[in-house]
C-alpha cells in the first residue's frame, strides 16, 4: 500500500490560505510604527495575494476535479524517503566526520543503495570525487570545507595532495 492523497488542489488551497493567515499572525510582531510602509507591509501584501490566488484555485477545484488525486506507491515512497534520510544524515555528519570522511561514507552508501555493486568502482568513484572536490574548493578556490574535530583528515590532506602531486610529477 502506498500513499493516496485525494483532492490535492483543495488540500493545497487550504494550506496556502493557512500560510496567508500565518503571515498575518506572525507579522503582528513586526514593528509598524513607521506607517503602512513598515516591515510588515510588504509581507502582508504578499499574504493577501496568496489568499486571493488560493481562493481562485479552491473555487476552480470544485468544478475541475480532474488530476486531483496523487498516488505514490510504497516502493516510490520508500525510495524518496531513503534518499532524503541519506542526505539528512550526510549533512548531520559533516560537522562530526568532516568533509572527506563524511563524503566518502555517503558516496559509498549512496552508490550501493542506487544499485552499484562493484567495490573497486565504488571505492575509486567515492574517493576520487571527494579528493577532487576537496582540492578544487579547499586548495584551489580557498573555500573552507567542514573539518572533523575527531578525525583530522582535512588537516593532513593539503600536504598529502602536494606530496602526491610532487611525487607524481617527479616520478
Amino acid at each position: 500500500m502506498g500513499l493516496h492523497v485525494p483532492h490535492t488542489d483543495k488540500l493545497g488551497s487550504i494550506l496556502w490560505l493557512l500560510l496567508a493567515v500565518g503571515i498575518f499572525v506572525v507579522s503582528t510582531d513586526l514593528p509598524t510604527g513607521t506607517g503602512e510602509t513598515g516591515a510588515a507591509f510588504y509581507p502582508r501584501v504578499i499574504a493577501v495575494l496568496i489568499a486571493v490566488f488560493a481562493c481562485l484555485q479552491l473555487g476552480r477545484s470544485f468544478y475541475d476535479e480532474g488530476h486531483q488525486v496523487r498516488d505514490v506507491s510504497r516502493q516510490q515512497t520508500r525510495r524518496v524517503v531513503a534518499v532524503v534520510a541519506l542526505v539528512t544524515i550526510y549533512v548531520l555528519s559533516l560537522p562530526w566526520f568532516g568533509f572527506v570522511t563524511g563524503t566518502v561514507l555517503f558516496l559509498i552508501v549512496g552508490m550501493l543503495y542506487s544499485g552499484a555493486r562493484s567495490p573497486i568502482r565504488i571505492g575509486v568513484a567515492a574517493l576520487g570525487l571527494t579528493l577532487v572536490l576537496y582540492y578544487v574548493f579547499a586548495v584551489l578556490l580557498r573555500i573552507p570545507l567542514p573539518e572533523s574535530p575527531f578525525i583530522p583528515v582535512e588537516a593532513a590532506l593539503p600536504g598529502l595532495i602536494h606530496a602526491g602531486l610532487v611525487s607524481g610529477v617527479v616520478g
Binding site: V26, A39, I46, Q57, R60, L86, V87, L133
Partner: protein, 492 residues
C-alpha cells in the same frame, strides 16, 4: 560602448578565462547529454565553483556550462527520443526520425551548426541592443520599476506551467521567502524567529540548488533511476554544402525569433524552440520529407531557436536585473555573491564585465561548434553514464555547493528543505521556476513599491498617475487574463 568592448576583450582573452569557457562547455555538454540533467540543474549544482573566482572568470564558466548543456540536450533527443534538457523537446520531432533512418550523424551535425548560428546571431543582436535598453531603463523611476518587477512575475507565472494560479502561488512563495531577514528599508529583523543566522536572509542560491538539484534527484529516484544502453555508430557528422544551403534561411530566421522570445522574462529555450519549429513548419510549404518525418529544417529550427533564446534571456537580466529564465536567475545570484547588482547601472558601473559576458558567450558557441563536430562520438557515449554513480555525486555537489556559499550549516539545511519542498510542489503540478524568479523579483518589487509610497506619503496615486507604470501593470493583467480567456474560448 567601444571602450567597454575593448575592456571586455582584454578580460576574456586571458588564458584562465578562455580555459574556463572550454571547460564549462565540456562540462555542459557532458551533463546536458545525460537525459534528465537540465541546463538549470547543471548550472545550479556547479555555481559554487565560481565563488572563489573573479566575476568575469565565474561568468565564463557558467556561460560555458549553460550553452554547452543547452546544445547537448539535442544529442539524446536525436538518438534515444529523450531530450537531455526540456529545450530540446522540439528537436525530437525530426531528429529522432533521422536517427531511425540511419542519419543520426547528419542530425547531430545540423543541430550543432544550428546551435552555433542561433547562439552567435543572438549574441550579436543582444550586444547591439542591450546598451540602448539599459539607457532607457536608467531613466525610469521607482513606480515603473515596481510595475516591471510585477509584470515579470505575472508573465513568468502565466507561461511556466499548466495552471496560472499555481504559477502565481509559486512566485509569491519565492517573494515571501525573500522577505526573511532584515527589512531592506528600515533594517528591522523580519521572520527571523530569534535566529541571528536568518538576519542575513535565506540564501537564494541554496534554495536554487535544492529546487533544481535535490528535488530533481528525488524525482528521479521516485521514478526509478534505471540505466540506458545505446550503441550508435555515427558517420557523416559534418553537413554537406547542399544541407547548409537548405537550412540557411530557416536557421537565421529562427535565430532572430528565438532571441526575441528568449528576451521575454520566463520564456526560455523550451518555448522558443516550439515557437520557431512551428513557424518553420508553417512557412515550409510542401516540404520533402514532411516535418516530423526527418526534415533537417525541423532540427535546424528547433536548435537555433532554443540556443538563440539563451543570449535573448540576458537582455532583461543585464539591463533590468530581471531574470529572463531560471539559468539567468542563477547568473544574477552568482553576480550578487560578488557584490555586483545587475540592472541598468551595470552598463555604466561594470562595462568591461558586461561586454566580457557578450564576447564570452560568443566564444562559447564557437567552442560548441568545434567540440560538437569533433567530439560527437564521445558525447554519444556519455548518455550511457550509469545513474547509480551519478546521482549520489550530484547530491554531494548540492550539499557542498550550499555550504560553500557562506560556510555555514544553515545554507545546507535550507538547500535540503528547498529540495524536499520543491519535490512535493512539483509532484502537485506547481512550477518551480517562479519560486526562484520570485526570490529575485520580490526584493526589487518591495524596494521600489515602498520607495514610491514614501515619495507620495503613502498615496498609491504615484503608481496610477504614471502612464508607463500603468501600461506595464495593464500588460501584467493581460498576461494573467489572456491565457485564461484563450483556454475558455478553446473549451467552448
Amino acid at each position: 560602448m567601444l571602450a567597454g568592448l575593448l575592456e571586455g576583450l582584454s578580460l576574456v582573452f586571458q588564458p584562465l578565462a578562455l580555459a574556463l569557457i572550454v571547460f564549462g562547455v565540456v562540462v555542459g555538454i557532458v551533463m546536458g547529454s545525460i537525459p534528465g540533467m537540465t541546463a538549470t540543474m547543471t548550472v545550479a549544482v556547479l555555481v559554487s565553483f565560481t565563488f572563489g573566482m573573479n566575476p568575469t572568470e565565474g561568468m565564463m564558466l557558467l556561460l560555458g556550462i549553460y550553452g554547452g548543456a543547452l546544445y547537448a540536450g539535442s544529442i539524446p533527443a536525436i538518438l534515444i527520443r529523450t531530450p537531455g534538457t526540456p529545450s530540446a523537446a522540439a528537436t525530437i520531432f525530426d531528429g529522432f526520425p533521422l536517427s531511425e533512418q540511419g542519419q543520426a550523424g547528419k542530425a547531430i551535425g545540423i543541430a550543432t551548426i544550428a546551435s552555433f548560428v542561433g547562439g552567435a546571431v543572438s549574441v550579436v543582436l543582444v550586444t547591439l541592443l542591450s546598451p540602448q535598453i539599459a539607457n532607457v531603463a536608467l531613466n525610469i523611476g521607482s513606480p515603473e520599476y515596481f510595475a516591471i518587477a510585477f509584470f515579470g512575475l505575472t508573465i513568468i507565472a502565466s507561461i511556466s506551467g499548466d495552471s496560472i494560479t499555481k504559477g502565481m502561488l509559486s512566485g509569491l512563495l519565492g517573494m515571501l521567502i525573500a522577505t526573511v531577514g532584515l527589512d531592506p528599508t528600515l533594517g528591522q529583523p523580519r521572520f527571523t524567529f530569534g535566529f541571528p543566522e536568518l538576519s542575513a536572509g535565506i540564501e537564494f542560491i541554496a534554495v536554487m540548488i535544492g529546487l533544481f538539484g535535490l528535488a530533481e534527484g528525488l524525482n528521479r529516484y521516485r521514478e526509478g533511476i534505471g540505466s540506458i544502453d545505446i550503441q550508435q555508430d555515427l558517420s557523416g557528422i559534418t553537413p554537406s554544402l547542399a544541407d547548409l544551403k537548405n537550412i540557411r534561411n530557416v536557421t537565421i530566421g529562427s535565430s532572430v525569433v528565438g532571441s526575441i522570445v528568449g528576451s521575454i522574462p520566463g520564456a526560455g529555450g523550451d518555448i522558443a524552440s516550439f515557437v520557431t519549429y512551428n513557424e518553420a513548419k508553417r512557412w515550409a510549404k510542401n516540404a520533402t520529407p514532411e516535418f516530423g518525418n526527418g526534415n533537417i529544417k525541423g532540427v535546424a529550427a528547433a536548435e537555433s531557436g532554443n540556443n538563440s533564446s539563451t543570449a535573448g534571456a540576458l537582455v532583461p537580466t543585464l539591463t533590468l536585473g530581471i531574470p529572463g529564465d531560471s539559468v539567468t536567475a542563477i547568473l544574477i545570484g552568482a553576480l550578487l555573491v560578488h557584490g555586483i547588482q545587475p540592472g541598468p547601472g551595470l552598463f555604466d558601473n561594470e562595462p568591461g564585465l558586461v561586454f566580457s559576458i557578450f564576447i564570452g558567450f560568443f566564444l562559447v558557441y564557437v567552442v560548441i561548434l568545434v567540440l560538437g563536430l569533433l567530439g560527437a562520438h564521445v558525447w554519444v557515449r556519455v548518455i550511457n553514464f550509469p545513474a547509480k554513480y551519478l546521482w549520489p555525486s550530484i547530491f554531494v555537489l548540492c550539499v557542498v555547493g550550499a555550504f560553500a556559499l557562506r560556510g555555514n550549516l544553515l545554507d545546507m539545511w535550507v538547500m535540503v528543505a528547498a529540495g524536499v519542498l520543491g519535490f512535493i510542489l512539483r509532484m502537485d503540478g506547481y512550477p518551480l521556476a517562479p519560486i526562484v524568479l520570485g526570490m529575485i523579483l520580490g526584493p526589487i518589487a518591495e524596494e521600489n513599491l515602498r520607495r514610491s509610497l514614501e515619495i507620495s506619503n503613502g498615496s498609491w496615486d504615484i503608481i496610477y498617475t504614471s502612464p508607463i507604470a500603468m501600461v506595464i501593470l495593464l500588460l501584467a493583467v493581460v498576461s494573467l487574463v489572456a491565457p485564461i480567456a484563450l483556454q475558455y474560448r478553446e473549451n467552448n
